[in-house]
């Protein structure tokens, strides 16, 4: 099966980042499954390591019309960065950013324990937003956790962000494809919340 739509970039390299426990790996799997179903060549590289112990975590979703890519996006070559935590968006930009990169980030900070301990400072949110905008061609600064909390569970922020990504024009797919991929991974009882999270995420870009 050959994919129908042309990709935004070839390869389309989307880095999903965040903090352990935010559902980063799940988001990358949903995206990977949906794209694979449309016939694209998909590679999802996951770096979790000690992620469940409060560390940063990163997945790389690499999409091509044909063939297979390596698991690592080359340095400074990400097409887009989808971040579940704003500081992590900036951290990833340093290694994978370039003037044309698109950034979508949840605006809810998760304090590193070294910041909580007072050893380091978390940047001012306005500074962080300005810097992300400066280092990207497009920044979507999104209240994904707020939306998720409105839906009843902060863990849905990852699905809200996927909904936003689908509405950004970067993906060759829409909400139904993501929903179908989610349905493969969640019991039907959980799908209503996921559907709403996708829709609310997409609406953030409307």
């Amino acid at each position: 099966m050959n994919p129908a739509a042309k990709l935004y970039a070839e390869p389309l390299d989307i880095i999903i980042t965040g903090v352990g426990g935010q559902g980063n790996v799940l988001a990358s799997q949903v995206l990977g499954r949906a794209l694979l179903k449309l016939g694209y060549g998909v590679t999802v590289g996951e770096t979790f390591g000690l992620s469940q112990r409060g560390g940063a975590v990163m997945s790389m979703v690499r999409v091509v019309s044909q063939g297979v890519m390596g698991p690592l996006v080359p340095e400074n070559r990400a097409t887009a960065i989808l971040s579940l935590e704003p500081l992590e968006a900036l951290r990833v930009l340093g290694a994978y950013g370039h003037p044309q990169v698109v950034v979508l980030t949840n605006d809810r900070p998760l304090m590193p324990v070294n910041v909580i301990a007072g050893a380091n400072r978390y940047p001012d949110m306005a500074d962080l937003q300005a810097v992300l905008a400066e280092l990207s061609s497009r920044l979507y600064w999104l209240p994904a956790t707020d939306v998720a909390l409105e839906l009843g569970n902060p863990i849905l922020a990852n699905v809200v962000m996927l909904g936003a990504l689908a509405a950004s024009g970067l993906l060759p797919l829409g909400l139904p494809e993501l929903e179908a991929a989610l349905a493969e991974m969640f019991p039907p009882a959980k799908m209503e919340a996921n559907r709403q999270a996708l829709a609310r995420g997409a609406a953030l870009l409307a």
Binding site: R33, R53, G54, P71, L93, G94, P99, N114, P123
Partner: protein
């Protein structure tokens, strides 16, 4: 993990590298799978265990890697296909057996060892290259580059093992094991042989010399079969300016680096998937066509050194060559390869311009990151019993006042070397070695050594390799306190069961082997404490430290906070009384958030008081015990299980 036996043949699915290896093994008809958990290898046995009922195989979490491989070898002796999977460190544990197994041979059933190496030590205490075992023990070595190739290779590995009747090593990497890609499953076999070991047949290592010779013959035959298996290939110009010899994930990085450099017409890639014994003919053939060679592999210069040795034998015929790689510093001798690192090396050799991004952007982003981005330190989870345990150990060793030492071990609690464990751990090496270190220290009193010694070991590590050291300490009356940090799970690698949990890999009940039953059997004095109860834990540890004499055991027993979270959660809703909180005032200086360092307990700068992060806090109640002002309140949460 999912039941891989349910995948539809021919229908593309997104599978992780480890799942592809597991599915490939199932398609190859594997019957017996054993492993000890360790990232990045854990998902192999996890998915096989979850597929065990569906596929009719046996899958076990063994107590350690050596037992896993020995058990698998036994199955192979009866004609069943068997495998053991482990992370790179596990190969060391199994090494003694491997070096003898290769002499005795592996019998009629195919036997495969999967090692998942971890360049950059993403989830490891080292980044050891486990390919050494192939050369050390003269075993065939396969290095897949993609999940699809991993699936194909493992099938070949079983066939090859049966052909030569010796163990075959397949080496994965974190970037392969933890990469998902579209995989097309094949059919599963419908039959398998009935296991039988002819009593007239021995699998032993004697007589050594003739069997050693046979082992060499096996390896030579393996080389011929591997050369024909199609895992080695060349892509590039007929006479390239640069020959890149690559294995594993570096094959993909090298190809991408050439694209980035737009140098596909200048350099070619000799992809090696069947790497040991070296495909000499193929390599010599390509060396003859090119004067410059770059090696792209992780972590050690394994191919680099072996191929240079091969070249030395043939240098007269081949003429002068220039070799580039780790030895010349064109690639780092440590850490992972990346497409960028390879592109930089190629550009340097070929005299090309290479920059990942324009200089102004790179400079500006580096500047902003340095200014704005704090590190994100690893730490114990909210509610983790290890935080409480190390708190008690820290406080107690301080009041003991004899400059006590703590030998660490391998597990979540290894983080005791970091601020999250109050940097209270003085040494960490490999599984179980903390007890050995303590055992040695515990004998130094006779030389005037007067520092008390504490060994911390997790429950899973206790069974893996602490037992012999503990028996030794009991026997020789080594003077130390062993703290078994028993959180009733192999938490670091994904909560796999172990003998103390009484459940097996497939979720079936096994016979529980409790830590205290081991202490009883050894005649060791022991006590069980709940690390959440700081005062009681400190008192028990203080008493144990004062006792002296031989080894004595404290079992710090409290379920892993993440497991507790799945089982109904913790008993408290925490709250800070902002009026009572002393905040940054003299004498406290944010004692709770600055020193205790739980992510669930933060500090509100504006309000000048500690505050519970309700999303993060799990309600373990420990921080209430450390607040000098009694400002942190633990209120029972009605809906929670105790």
């Amino acid at each position: 993990m999912a039941d891989l036996s349910k995948l539809m043949p021919g229908e593309t699915v997104l599978l992780q590298g480890n799942e592809a290896l597991a599915r490939g093994a199932l398609e190859a008809g594997v019957a017996f799978c054993a492993a000890y958990p360790g990232n990045p290898s854990s998902e192999i046995l996890e998915s096989l265990a979850d597929s065990a009922a569906g596929a009719g195989i046996y899958a076990e979490w063994s107590v350690n890697e050596k037992v896993a491989l020995e058990s698998a070898a036994a199955a192979a002796y009866t004609g069943l296909r068997a495998m053991a999977s482990m992370k790179q460190n596990g190969v060391n544990v199994a090494q003694d057996f491997i070096c003898n197994l290769t002499i005795s041979g592996s019998g009629p059933g195919g036997l495969v060892l999967i090692t998942c190496d971890d360049p950059s030590g993403i989830s490891s205490t080292n980044e050891q290259d486990a390919r050494f075992i192939a050369r050390l023990a003269d075993l065939p070595l396969l290095e897949p580059a993609t999940p699809a190739e991993a699936m194909a290779m493992i099938k070949f590995a079983f066939e090859l093992s049966e052909e030569i009747q010796n163990l075959v090593v397949l080496r994965s990497l974190s970037r392969l094991s933890h990469t998902r890609a579209g995989i097309v499953p094949g059919p599963l076999p419908q039959t398998r042989p009935k296991p039988y070991w002819d009593p007239k047949v021995n699998h032993a290592t004697m007589p050594v010399v003739p069997l050693h010779a046979k082992m060499h013959e096996k390896l030579a035959r393996a080389g011929r079969l591997m050369a024909a298996a199609g895992f080695n290939s060349y892509e590039g110009p007929q006479k390239p300016e640069l020959l890149i010899i690559a294995s594993g994930s570096s094959v993909l990085y090298a190809a991408e680096a050439l694209q980035l450099l737009k140098a596909e017409d200048k350099a070619g890639i000799l992809k090696l998937g069947a790497t040991w014994p070296l495909p000499e003919e193929l390599i010599l053939d390509h060396l003859a066509k090119c004067g410059r060679v770059l090696f792209a592999e992780e972590v050690d210069p394994f191919l680099e050194n072996e191929i240079k040795a091969l070249y030395a034998q043939n240098a007269g015929r081949l003429g002068a060559k220039a070799f580039f790689g780790k030895a010349t510093g064109h690639l780092a001798a440590i850490g992972e390869n990346t497409p960028g690192r390879l592109a930089a090396a190629m550009a340097r050799i070929l005299g090309l311009e290479w920059r990942t991004v324009d200089e102004a952007y790179a400079k500006r982003s580096a500047e902003l990151l340095a200014k704005l981005v704090p590190p994100r330190e690893f730490g114990f989870c909210p509610g983790c019993p290890h935080r409480a345990s190390y708190w008690a150990i820290k406080q107690t060793l301080a009041v003991d006042g004899r400059q006590g030492l703590v030998s660490g071990d391998i597990g979540c609690y290894t983080l005791g070397v970091l601020p999250t464990g109050f940097r209270r751990v003085n040494s960490v090496h490999c599984m179980g070695s903390g007890l050995g270190i303590s055992n040695g220290l515990g004998q130094l009193g006779r030389f005037g050594f007067d520092q008390p010694v504490v060994s911390v070991v997790g429950d899973s590590t206790f069974y893996h390799s602490a037992l012999p050291a503990l028996v030794n300490a009991r026997w020789n009356q080594s003077d130390y306190v062993l703290c078994v940090l028993d959180n009733s799970a192999t938490a670091m690698t994904g909560f796999q069961p172990h003998p103390g949990t009484g459940r097996t890999a497939t979720g079936q009940p096994g016979k529980q082997v409790a830590v205290e039953s081991v202490c009883q059997a050894l005649g060791l004095p022991y006590a069980i404490v709940d690390p959440y109860d700081l005062a009681a834990t400190q008192e028990a540890l203080y008493d144990a430290l004062q006792q002296g004499g031989g080894v004595r055991v404290l079992i710090f027993r409290r379920l892993c906070a993440l497991v507790q979270g799945r089982q109904g959660g913790h008993p408290y809703r925490m709250r800070v009384d902002a009026e009572a909180c002393r905040g940054e005032n003299c004498g406290c200086n944010r004692f709770c958030s600055r020193v205790f360092r739980c992510p669930g307990l933060t500090f509100d700068q504006a309000g000048g008081a500690a505050v519970i992060d309700e999303v993060t806090c799990v309600g373990c109640g420990v921080c209430a015990q450390i607040c000098p002002a009694g400002a942190i309140l633990a209120e029972p949460r009605k809906e929670a299980a105790a």
